[in-house]
Symmetry: C2
Amino acid sequence: MSQFTQDFQSQLADLMRWRRDVRRFRTDEVDEAVLTRCLDAFHMAPSVGLSEPWRVIRVQSAAARSAALANFEAANADALAGYDGERAQIYGTLKLSGMRDAPVQLAIYCDEDTGKGAGLGTATMPEMRRYSVVGAITHFWLAARAEGLGVGWVSIMDPAQLDRDLDVPKGWVLVAYLCAGWPETDSLTPELETAGWETRTPTRAPLRR
Amino acid sequence: MSQFTQDFQSQLADLMRWRRDVRRFRTDEVDEAVLTRCLDAFHMAPSVGLSEPWRVIRVQSAAARSAALANFEAANADALAGYDGERAQIYGTLKLSGMRDAPVQLAIYCDEDTGKGAGLGTATMPEMRRYSVVGAITHFWLAARAEGLGVGWVSIMDPAQLDRDLDVPKGWVLVAYLCAGWPETDSLTPELETAGWETRTPTRAPLRR
């Protein structure tokens, strides 16, 4: 059906409120049927020119996971070195990835060389292909949360190193490294807020006109 | 509540299926309360380091709308000139923006200079700020569709020209020009598919491992 009730609208807002960037996962496996339903959300996402440029790599082998973890740890140490004082102290306490525990790990790429869509909508804004991938990731994130799964987006990584470690085709650009699994807890509050790193703007900022 | 039912999950999948990139709008106004509810979805979106870098400009004055429309028309003529044969013929028939009719038009920017979040998560992937804005746009798009509103993302535009026309602050980067309003029709099929430009992949592509 193409009409949605107020009750659904209200539950959709709840879903968005409960969606968190999760870094603390239980280690029990995710049923493949559940994961497949969540991944189907990629396929329903909008894409510029119908280019569908998303490419999903399941990072599963011990070697690939260990390389990705080492990549994160090096980038995270570099990032910590860039802060000092109280910032450095708080940064040191943050858990910024669930890569040691998350049963499902996905490297999400954009295929910049796809011929699909014949370039429509990308002449002045070629970044639209990557943006289409981000939209699809957002669909996946919401679908996963509706199933009770947590998703965490790791961006503290050297993309060129991950490209080499995963041996991705030329023309693919890393958009996200995602951890997914059953979260240890549910929360309405982002971990960065709880940890004192940053707060959310209390209400929507006014529009410029 | 933090748990979602199978019925809700199924309706969420329906919402994603019925979400379209809309370019054909009725001209009747959108109630401000409805629009405000949809814009609140921005505020619930994830953002790197809690940087909340989205900036929303309501494009409302005749001068601003006329400049944006001229920008689209010039970029669209350039794009058409880049195709030939059957592609050019089909491209010429496509309606690629609803800018003449859409009652609500929003230019969505990313503030690259924001200090919010203190740069967390952006050292190796500074594009994460723009990706956060895309995630928020995706939230808005789904919330709008749940209200029955259509949204269309126009990317056939010269961003530098729009920056000048809207006189945006230094450090802001255009992510999207959105049209919104009540759609003429609802559809499960993308217009680009109906028009013969491109088709969707019938099923989810297999994962690489």
